[in-house]
Symmetry: C3
Subunit: 676 residues, 3 copies
């Protein structure tokens, strides 16, 4: 349980009462929060300038009053540290807090997420703010959790960052010879003879555009360094807080598949993972499901917080559609179904000025409760109160794991060739989606995760194989596991240096194949996966494209061959027996129907069954609490769906009815079924 | 009359004889001007560097000679002040004249419209140049009008502008508390404690791209400030000139719907409005008509100058088509039909070097009169001489007004959400175009304009409602007027702060509706306007899209409902009786056929008749002189059109024939019909 | 012969053994080079930082060893000077070596081709490096040729370049009056009174985007100046080398139609032209053929070097397809067929780190010879050994010449109007391609080339006519030649100033036409070329578009007229008799079928026969050695083609067979036929 003070699914969101001076508004907020069943408010996210009007003055009066007022009315505080945007006076007095952007331009004051992570001023004052806040509120009974800064992100390229980068490199590589070696600096005459010669990779040095670089090794290390720099900022606040309130959990809100930070590394310093879920209208629901699973995977399955979602509209999309009736509730339960123990919004009351005023809120500009959005929020609030702690702390069990690695993603994104169309997270999602369609639970895991508990491990486009990982895979397969990897895997080490001798490098032994060439297809070009004979659900011919590894079997069984081009007849799908298990290589990017047939075949072999067989568009997820299954049935379709539950009787925790056999579930509706 | 010295429609244009050193060329110019009926030449537009070779020397010899030569040959001068491009020596000696661009880059010398409007050097020397010129030519009989600078525009973001912005803000808001309030700076922790902390909104502070901002209030004020800064430059020259020649009118050439300057504010300081008309090949003719009406509206209906148009080709379009035969004449008369008392070109003779050498001219590179373009120019020149002063000073009478407001436009453009597809001027044009199709005269008016003389006032997307405007609308409707507004209206005050309590804010009472939500549709998405029953010309179902306000009637009659989506059956068109008049709300962006049926119904109700019923593509406009109507019939189609004039006889001022009944008008041809 | 030490077609490529520290790798390289028939390796291209670890130390140990090892194994060296990327220490110690980019941003250390060409430091140390290398290796028997720097290119806009630009201008124009005149600076008030007022044209002065300028004259001169600045860098190294090794040829590798350098001017300082051929997958084979001919034309037909091509994949295309089997050999022979005496690759062994690691190589990452790519390389190596010196030094004879001029191209690219769609090199290629389809040899010539040896000279879009060129054309036509030019020709002088009096200016007399207007068509718009009567192979109607000159015949015969628009019936194709010859004017951009019919008609008239009539997709080129023809038959199609050789017997130098009559040539295969 995140904090036992509130033993239910927390319900609330970002609240900025400091934007109103009228106490009548604050009272009205309380009245409406109660109507909506709100029990937690995130405060102080962007109030640094208000809290600290100058270098020496700290004034938390407004915060004292707000937290007291909320607490008196039964509403807890998720207490932010306000350090995600420095005050104007600080930028003026200490320009080192301002970032230098990717184009080498020193920024002026403005925006948010605007502080140089290696600015001494920012480090000093953000840590001090965390310290002062924790000192101030260490005994306040309303504090449920700490929320450090907000949505960390953005890189800086200033001289101080350059110097810190050199220090980070010295720490990592000790001597320049090693650095020159791992960066392969004899290419294009880059040999460094002095650490001071090194500059960050940006638009005026090694990168033409972000992710287009001359030196992958340098750019990769700068991503590591920047992720670490921002993490250091977080850690400093974390430590300052923990000194005062060691027992209150601390988090910062993450952003799903946000590219700039290595969230697996970050998660180690978070007491609980929290994240902000803002799908676009065309984001597949299975993508959102995957990201929830990824956020759960950051801390190996521990429940997480849904820190932000919009009650209805966003403002920063090109076309900001309303969330249709029922969708907010449906997506809230989707989060819970995948491991969230909170449902929280940005924001509780809409601002009236600046760029987020057209972002949805529980309390809209109309200001009263007679709106569709408020009614939906209030209905959900009541439901969550009724659910109480029944779902809390339940866990998800998966026999299938998909590997996701931020450093591998960076390396793939930075690659010059073979194809600009290759998007790591899309390839990962293709595999996830096929399993999702069958309602087969999946864990999204890091390369550090232990594999023993899984039957099947899938590592799409594992371009970078880190030290020891090939051995881990070999051991997993040897012990009976099924391992799947794909084209463009096993190419480089952790510094993006090619492992020579034949792709997929260190994975070559366990895969039993050798990849000689990698053909890049134009978007409209296709090849075929031609099954040599039917295998499980696999039969006939499938389309593939993007990249085609031209592989040779070296012990592996050739299960399917290319159907076209000069490499027609070469293997495209191979299976290698290794000890007690098998290793599959998918040499191109296949169409969905292939992946469904392929992965269902593997699951069948391993005895992994769908949680429930449902019509397309109906998602089923399961959390278990003390061995008791809780089944979430989510109808993402606009129309009614018939669900066959089988003979076992379930209790629907929302309707409080016992259900069994065939059940009708209206469009956008949800059932949460508890086993007896 | 702009200047009684030349009592006819002025005919001429920009003339740069200083680009040729050969007196034979100048003589040839005179000969050809006479052939073409040219009687006014705009001189000295870009001759600052020539006139003032260094800080202390002024040399107008070439200008003296040119003006004398022209005047001797019956050609007047529109005298520019040459301050639209500073000399190279000035940029080198006083770099403060150079602008800092949106990306924070100090510019080097080059281009035009290149001076920082708050540069002390620019202010000093531009004012002094105006003073010297006026001193020099105050008694020259050839000077018809002053032309200050040229096409003012472009913003600067230098430190001096930043300081001037702070001063402007102090003047406007007096104290920082008020500033923090109207900018809503508690959002994202922006509280300012010192004026010096404020920086202009640009790419390195609050704006990611132009019109994409974090703080709408700041960005809005910077647009106001920059428009004012450039206006101050104009005013300084204006005053310097007026000291010498109080009776000669002064103008500067505007650019239609140019976004950066608040032309309604500017027009107050212009003796006569003048503008440059450069439609693209795909600009609808009704759009050009609207802009002419807008330019006329800047000074409440006073005749204006067509200062520039091209005789044929432009050079800065991607594909610079020739103006087809007859089109230059047709578009010239379109200007006159909408209130222009001049027809002037850029340019009289084509330059041979630099970037405008492929822009059309009366005298082409061939250099002689045996070109299609010259013949068309000369024919028009003769016609204008024959027309003499018959059209001069005539006025247009309209019972329908459409509101246009630059500050509202800025606010709409700056809005983050709900849709990037919303373009204020396009929504305004949709309403204009429907009336244009019926040949119903329209005034384009500011929010300051008195409404008493109108029967119908239309204010599309009146997102920003300024203090007192709602009362003005209420009073207008109460007195019997018909008022129309649309979705996304009444949202914010003059600082872009939302008026809470329900959209459309201050307009809610008079409209009798409440807008709960605003849905944004994708470009390909549509909804329907379903008439509850036929009303006037409105019947059946129409398409709508872009934005859909989800409104509730609060007293208003629901005339049509949405036909689709979860808000099917909610009102989309409402009519509210208020005192003696009615107020209509159009809750979405409708297709053209709806607007034609809707607005013709309103006109029918008010007894507003088309000037003439004509085939599509034939425009009719009317100017009145001493109560005498003058009808312009413009056939924009390539083919012949039959015009039914009815029984009344007219004199065609061009053909000198009496016409009545049905008349054939060839493609691209024009009739100017005078009543007896 | 480039160097008699190796009297065969050189075979090899870029080799960077310094990227590996393991002697076993170097030995393996030698073993595989021998297998592949490699006899030349380009060394030291990017090793400056390695060779010169600090300001005073030079260390060529690795190079000594490498050259010796290669030479001992029969492999020669193409010795680069390593100055295409300065060392990091130099950038840190002497920042003047770093460029300022088009946006005015001083670059940090990174990339390659990164030195300011006017940096005193770069000039000093690059010259010294060339000197030291030449001193070191002047007696090494392995040095076949010098390779100065690498792929020169990229402009700089720093203050030093600005100063050097002013000096260059003083040299060129002597006085400011002349400069103001040729730049037409009275336009937009640009009169310069001091040389110091002049700044380079870039994003912050006269150019909004590259090639979009306010002043064509300034931008044109900056291109000339930058081309000269880089050429000066080359010349300095050239001279330093020649002092030591006057008899070893010196080159630098060019890049085909690379826009930034005037290669005709550069070629004068190259002992032999060399270039890097990197077609995209959608580059027409006839475009590659044209570029080969252009490279040959740089030195008036002298054989050139194919310095770089990829054995298979590139890495910097969006989608990097593999070269299909046979294509590398086919394209290698295409180069030879057009005049190359070498076949060389980038690269011999693939790097394992940085941005070119996915670029193909003779030795792939697998590291052994059992790859398709290696086998194809080795097969070709053996073939070239067998061919020995049979093809060496042979020449191509063409009766048709196409004019290509870099300065004209710059001027066309810089033009503001009439159409952004006009691409000089594409219009040139259209004419080339029509002749290519008929296997008619073409010389690509400069405007300085003598025309006497040609029957037909084609100068598409000769927008800029330099002093004396019109006279040269007149003399050529007068003597019986056939001259063809097109729309948008004869417009400006060498400073981009329009020649007034009527287009095509100085060409008007010989063409016998006058162009009054130039219409620009939208991409989807078309007009027609309607033949007045059949003429040779020309008959009926053809499509045209892009630009349409509205021309009048002034003595020329009107052969075809426009079929559409208001200029229907005006001439679009004219033929003027002038002395003993004829001058054709093509007033619009025609479709391919017109050009085939038109140019074949001209060839027929001049008795110019195809080398061979072949099916489409089969290219034939001819080199002659001591009057002996050598015919290259290249089947670019994937499928077999039947070639009719006629009765004459030939020896196929590849198969050593005698062939005659009809021969089958497999897809992607090649025959090299030698006459007896």
């Amino acid at each position: 349980m995140i904090n036992e003070a509130l033993p239910k699914i927390w319900y609330g969101g970002d609240y900025n009462p400091e934007q109103w001076d009228d106490p009548a508004v604050w009272d009205e907020d309380i009245r409406m929060f109660k109507l909506a069943g709100i029990d937690v408010a995130t405060l102080n996210v962007f109030s640094w300038a208000l809290n600290q009007p100058d270098e020496e003055t700290y004034d938390f009066t407004w915060l004292d009053e707000t937290m007291d007022r909320l607490y008196r009315n039964g509403i807890y505080t998720c207490l932010a540290t306000s350090t995600a945007a420095h005050p104007p006076w600080m930028a003026r007095k200490y320009p080192d807090v301002l970032r230098v952007d990717f184009y080498g331009r020193k920024r002026s004051y403005g925006g948010r997420h605007n502080s140089c992570p290696n600015s001494p001023t920012y480090r000093k004052y953000s840590r001090r703010m965390a310290d002062r806040l924790a000192e101030q509120y260490k005994n306040h009974p309303g504090v449920l959790i700490w929320h450090v800064s907000n949505e960390y992100g953005g890189y800086c390229y200033c001289d101080r960052c350059a110097q810190a980068f050199r220090d980070w490199l010295k720490e990592r590589y000790t001597d320049l010879d090693r650095l020159n070696k791992v960066w392969n600096t004899r290419f294009w005459g880059h040999t460094f003879y002095d650490w001071e010669e090194i500059v960050p990779p940006y638009a005026l040095s090694e990168e033409e555009e972000y992710n287009r670089t001359n030196f992958q090794g340098i750019s990769l290390d700068y991503r590591r360094f920047m992720s670490d720099s921002l993490l250091d900022c977080y850690r400093a606040e974390y430590k300052a807080i923990k000194r005062h309130t060691p027992h209150i959990p601390v988090t910062t809100n993450l952003m799903g598949t946000y590219p700039e930070l290595d969230y697996f590394k970050w998660a180690k310093d978070l007491d609980v993972v929290s994240w902000d879920n803002y799908p676009s209208i065309d984001t597949p629901v299975s993508y959102t499901a995957m990201v929830h699973d990824l956020m759960r995977g950051l801390k190996s399955g521990q429940p997480f917080m849904l820190m932000e979602q919009t009650p209805s509209q966003q403002n920063w999309q090109p076309y900001n559609s309303l969330k249709r009736p029922g969708v907010m509730r449906l997506w809230s339960y989707q989060a819970v179904a995948h491991g969230a123990d909170t449902v929280m919004f940005f924001q509780l009351r809409r601002s009236i000025g600046a760029c987020e005023k057209f972002h949805g809120a529980v309390i809209e500009h109309a200001g009263h409760e007679h709106t569709r959005v408020f009614r939906e929020c209030a209905d959900l609030g009541q439901e969550l109160h009724r659910l109480s702690d029944q779902l809390l702390d339940s866990r998800i069990e998966a026999k299938v794991a998909i590997v996701f690695d931020w450093e591998n993603r960076w390396a793939v994104d930075l690659s010059s060739g073979p194809s600009v169309a290759l998007r790591y997270e899309q390839e990962v999602h293709k595999y996830y989606d096929a399993l999702y369609q069958f309602n087969i639970p999946v864990d999204m895991i890091s390369v550090e995760e232990d594999l023993d508990s899984y039957s099947i491990v899938i590592a799409p486009v594992l371009y970078m194989v880190k030290p020891g990982y090939a051995e881990k895979v070999e051991s997993f397969v040897n012990s009976g596991g099924t391992f799947v990897t794909t084209f463009f895997s096993g190419i480089v080490d952790e510094n993006d240096r090619v492992v020579t001798g034949g792709y997929p490098g260190e994975l070559r032994r366990v895969m039993g194949i050798w990849a000689e060439e990698i053909d890049a297809l134009y978007p409209e070009e296709k090849n075929q996966i031609v099954m040599k004979q039917a295998k499980g659900n696999l039969r006939g011919t499938y389309e593939c494209g993007l990249l085609c590894d031209l592989i040779h079997a070296e012990g592996a069984e050739v299960v399917a061959e290319y159907g076209d081009d000069f490499y027609q007849g070469m293997p495209v799908l191979t299976k290698n027996r290794w000890g007690g298990g098998t290793a599959w290589y998918v040499a191109s990017s296949p169409e969905t129907s292939f992946l469904k047939d392929f992965l269902s075949t593997l699951c069948d072999e391993k005895g992994i069954q769908p949680l429930l067989k449902t019509p397309s568009g109906v998602e089923v997820s399961e959390r278990r609490k003390k061995e008791q299954p809780i089944l979430f049935v989510l109808n993402h379709r606009p129309e009614m769906a018939t669900i066959h539950l089988g003979e076992r009787p379930w209790i629907d925790l929302l309707s409080r009815q016992t259900v069994t056999g065939s059940v009708s579930l209206p469009g956008k509706d949800v059932m949460i079924l508890s086993g007896f």
